[in-house]
C-alpha cells in the first residue's frame, strides 16, 4: 500500500487555485466558493493552511456576499445556501467569522425556511434535505439556531426517512449516501439522533462497502472516493463505523491518488479534481490516518475549528 502524498496534494491544490483559464476551471467557475472550501479544508487537514494568504481569501469571500446576506458561488453570481455554508466554513477555518454581520447572514438563511419546516436553496424555491442540513449547520456555526423553527425542521427531515433507514431529497425520495449525511448531520447538530434506527441505517451504510474496499452511494452502484466522506461521517455519527473494513478503505483511497502530480480521483486511474481530493483526505482523517488533523463528522470542519467555535479558546 502506498502512502499519502501530502506534499504533492498541497502542490496540486495550490495549482488548481491559480489555474483559471482551462476549460475545467471555467466550467466550475460558478461554484468556486465550494472549491475554496474543499481546497482550503484539505490544506488545513494536511497542516498547510498557513501557505494561504488569509486576507486575500477573506476579501474574496466577502466580495461574493449579496445584499440579501447570502453568498454566491463566485463574484457576481446569485446567492444560494450552497455557497453561503461554504463561505461561513471558509471564514471559520481562518477564525474570521467576526468579519460577518452574523445577524444578516442568519436572517437570509432563516428566511428560506418553509411552513412545513423544509428549506429552499434560494428565493426560487427548490426544496431538498441538503438545504435543511446547510441551514442548520450554518446557523449553528453562527450561534443563531434560534432564528428558525428547529422542531419543524427536524420533523421535515424525519418525513424523508425511508424503509432502509436512510433519507432522500424530499419525502418519498430514494436513500442516497450524500443525502443520508445531510440528514444525519442535521439531526446530530440538533440533538435529534433518536429519530434514527442506528442499526438499520448502519447496516445499509456498511453494505455500501464493495469488494475493492471502496464505498458506493447506493446499492448496486460503483464505488467512489467521495462516499468515503458521506458514508463514513454518517457511520461515525451513529457509532457504527466499526461495521466496515477500514484498512481496505484506506487502501482504496490511497490507490486513487495521482502519485505523480498530486490530487485524488473518484476511482483508481481516473482524472483527479479538488472535490475528490478533499473527500479522500477527509475520509482518511475519519479513518485516523496518521499525520492528519481530525475532522468533525457533522460540521465538516477540523475538530479544532469546531471546538474553538463551541468551547471558546
Amino acid at each position: 500500500m502506498g502512502e499519502l502524498e501530502v506534499e504533492k496534494h498541497v502542490k496540486y491544490i495550490l495549482l488548481v487555485e491559480k489555474r483559471k483559464d482551462d476549460f475545467e476551471s471555467v466550467v466550475m467557475e460558478h461554484l468556486r466558493m465550494n472549491g475554496a472550501y474543499w481546497g482550503l479544508t484539505t490544506l488545513d487537514l494536511l497542516g498547510k493552511l498557513e501557505t494561504v494568504d488569509t486576507e486575500e481569501v477573506v476579501s474574496w469571500v466577502m466580495k461574493c456576499q449579496h445584499e440579501s446576506g447570502g453568498f454566491g458561488g463566485n463574484v457576481g453570481h446569485d446567492p444560494h445556501l450552497l455557497y453561503t455554508l461554504s463561505s461561513v466554513q471558509v471564514l471559520a477555518l481562518f477564525d474570521k467569522i467576526n468579519v460577518l454581520d452574523t445577524d444578516r447572514v442568519s436572517n437570509y438563511i432563516a428566511g428560506l425556511q418553509n411552513d412545513d419546516g423544509s428549506f429552499s436553496g434560494d428565493m426560487w424555491g427548490e426544496v431538498d434535505t441538503r438545504f435543511s442540513y446547510i441551514a442548520i449547520c450554518c446557523l449553528s456555526l453562527l450561534h443563531h439556531l434560534d432564528k428558525i423553527n428547529v422542531e419543524k425542521a427536524v420533523k421535515y427531515i424525519v418525513s424523508c426517512k425511508n424503509l432502509d433507514g436512510g433519507f432522500g431529497c424530499t419525502p418519498g425520495g430514494e436513500s442516497h449516501a450524500g443525502q443520508v449525511f445531510c440528514c444525519v448531520g442535521a439531526l446530530s447538530i440538533t440533538g435529534s439522533l433518536h429519530h434514527i434506527d442506528k442499526d438499520l441505517l448502519g447496516w445499509w451504510l456498511c453494505e455500501r462497502q464493495v469488494k475493492s474496499g471502496g464505498l458506493n452511494g447506493r446499492p448496486e452502484k460503483l464505488p467512489d472516493v467521495c462516499y468515503s466522506w458521506w458514508v463514513l461521517s454518517s457511520l461515525i455519527m451513529i457509532d457504527r463505523v466499526h461495521w466496515i473494513d477500514k484498512e481496505k478503505l484506506v487502501k482504496f483511497i490511497l490507490d486513487c491518488q495521482d502519485k505523480e502530480n498530486g490530487g485524488i480521483s473518484d476511482r483508481p486511474d481516473d482524472a483527479v479534481d479538488v472535490y475528490h481530493t478533499y473527500f479522500g483526505v477527509a475520509g482518511l482523517s475519519l479513518l485516523e490516518y496518521p499525520g492528519l488533523k481530525a475532522i468533525d463528522p457533522a460540521y465538516a470542519l477540523p475538530v479544532d475549528v469546531v471546538n474553538r467555535i463551541f468551547f471558546g479558546r
Binding site: D21, D22, F23, E24, V26, V27, H30, G72, G73, D78, H80, W124, E126, D128, N162, L163, D164, C169, G172, G173, E174, S188, I189, T190, G191, S192, L193, H194, L200, C206, E207, R218, P219, E220, K221, I236, M237, I238, D239, H242, W243, D245, S265, D266, R267, D269, D270, A271, L286, E288, A294, D296, P297, A298, V303, V306, N307, F310, F311, G312
Partner: protein, 689 residues
Amino acid sequence: MHGRPRKAPTPEEENASSLKATKLRSLQSQFLQNHHSKNYTKEALEISAKLLESNPEFYTAWNYRKLAVEHNLKQSETGTDPDSIESIIDEELRVAESALRRNFKSYGAWYHRKWVLRKGHTSTDRELQLLEAFQKRDARNFHAWNYRRFIAALMDRSDAEELLYTTDMINKNFSNYSAWHNRSVLLSHLLEKRAQGFFPKEKVLTDEYDLVHQALFTDPDDQSGWFYHLWLLDQTVKVETPLLISSWPANGVDLNVSSDSFPLILYFSEAVEGVNSSTISVESAWDANKDLFWRPLSANNSGSAQAWVAHLDFPNEKPESLKSFPVKVSLGHSQGIVSSNGFHYAHPSCFEFTVCVRPQNKEHDPRQSIEMISWRDENFHVNETHFQVSSDPIKYFDQLKIDENSEPTGSKWHLKTIANEIALFRELLSEINCKIGKLTLARLLTAHDAMMPYTKSPDAYEMIHFEEVLELYSNLMKLDPAHSRYYKDEYSLVLFQQVASSRESLLKHCFLYGGSTGSSINNYICLRLNNLSLSRIGSVQKLLWVQMLDLSHNELQSIEGLEAMQLLSCLNLSNNKLGSFTALEPLRLLKSLKVLDISYNEIGAHSVDTRRYLCSSPLSHTAGSDWNFDEFAVSGVKVTNYWEAFSIFKGLNLTQLDIVGNAIPDEKFKLFLFRLLPSLKWLDGEELH
C-alpha cells in the same frame, strides 16, 4: 472528474480545450452582464440558453431565465395572449430538456422544469414520455424518480397506477433498487389508507414476499431485494402499539428497601413519550407518590425513551413503615403514551408489589465507612443455596405478564409466514452458501423466537434457536470478514438474550461478592458477564434488578442500554474498547452508581470520537448552557480537552474510580477529577486523603 480517465492531454486536446474555454468564458461574461443589467431581450435570452446547453450547472442562468419569464409574462401584450404565453413556456421547456440531454443529473435543469410546470400554463402530457426516455437511459437516476413523483402528484395519478409502473420496472430488471424503493413508499401509503385491493394487509404482504423471493433467489448477491425483504419482515412481526415489557419492581414482588427512596422503572417495547403522573397512576400509602416526576432514560433531551424512571419516596420517620404495604401501578387507562410512529399505548394494565421499608443506618460521612471493592476472582463465590432464600433478587427477573390483556401478536398468519420464510431460506442455503441467506435466516429465527413469549404454545421452549443463530453469526464473520464486527454485535445481542432467557441460564453468571468482612457491600449478588467477547449490550429489560455488574474483559465500545439499570451501584467495565469519555454517557443517568472501573480501555487513544453526537453537549445544543466549568477548572487545563469528562462525571457521586490504563490521565486531569468528584475516596486503588 467522475468517471473520466486520468491521462495527460495531447497538444491537440489542449488546444481544443482552451478554445472551448475561451468560448464558454465569453458566453459566461456576456450572460453575467445581461443578468446584472436586467436585459431580457430575445438576443440576451439566447445567450443564456446557449450557456445552459453547454453548462447546465450554471445556476445563476436558470435564475435569470425565471426572472425573464416573470418579466415577459408581465408585459401587457403577452401577458394576456395565450399564444405568447405558450411560446414563452415552451421555450423554457425546450431549454430545460436540452440541458437535461447534456446532463440528466443537473439539479438546476430538473428544477427549472418543475418551476415552469407549476406555473400551470402547459399540459403535463409529454412529461411521462420524456421520463420514460430518461429512465430507459438510466433506470436508477434518482432525479428522474423524484420528478416522476412530482408529475404523478401534479397529474393526480393514483398510487395503485404508480405501483404498477414499479412492477413493470422490476419485471424488466429486478436489480433496480430505485423501483423497489418507490414500491415500498407507494405500498406503505396504500396499506395505511386501506385502499381498495390493498386489504387485508396479510394478503398483500404474502404477494410481496413472492415477488421479492424471485429477486433474492435469482441472484442472492444483488442487494436490490435485501432491504425490501427486511422491510417486509418488519411489517410482518412489528407490533404497532407500544407495550410495557418489563418493570422494576416486577409484578408480585415483596421488596425490602432501606433507603427512603427507590426507583420505579417502566420498560417499553420501543421508545415512547408522554409518561407522566397523568398517564401512570401509582397508588401507595403515601400521598407524596401521587404526583411522581417521570424521567426519560435517554441521552438526549428528546422527551422520549424506552425506559422511564420515577422515584418513590417513603418518609422513614414513620415507625409503622416496618410492616409491608402495597403499591399498585396502572397505565393505559387514559391516552397519552405515544410511540415515535404516533401509536398510543392501548393495553390497560397494572402491576402490584409490596414494599417493606427498613430503618436506615445513619451514616455520618459516606466516605468514612466505605470499603474498596475489589473485582478479583477470589472475591466472587458461587452460593446456590443463597439464591433460594426469600431475598433472591433473581425472582424479580420474571417478566411482566402482559399477554393476557394484549392482542395476540403472534397470530397464525404471522407465525405461518415466518415459518414459511425460514423453510425457504433453509432451502436456499442448502443449494448455495450466501451471506444474505445466512443473515436473513438468523433474523427470521430471532423474529420467530421473539414471537414465542406471546403465544401459549406448550413447546415454545424447545423452539428457541439461540445456538443455531449464534452459529450463523459466527459463520458470517468468516464468510464476510469486512463486516465481521456487524455480525459480532448481532452475536452479542443474541448472547445476551440467551443469558437472560431463563433463570437457570442467569444463575450460571450470578456470584456472591464477599470482600473484607464488615463491608457494607458484602453479600451483594454480582452478575458476571466478563470474558464473553461481548461487543454490545442487550436484553437490559431482564436485568433491571442488577446492582453489581461485571462486564470486564469484553470488547464493548458502547454501553448503550445500561442507563435503564437504575439500581446499579458497582460496575466493572475494565479491559474493554471504550474509546472516549462520551461513550460513558449512559452512566450520567445512573444516580446510584458508586463504584466504577473503566481501567484499561482506549479512552483518549482515538482522534475520532464515534460517540461525539450521541452524548449531550454544546455541539448538538443538548447541554452546556448551564455548565459552570470555571468552578472546577484547574489552571492550565483547557475546556476543550476535558469537556467530555466534565459532562459525564459532574453529576455522579462516585466513591471509587479506576481509570488507569487509558490514554489520558495526567496529574492535572487527576486534580480536575478530585474537584469534580468530591465524594471520591479511592482512585486507581489508592485511598485519597
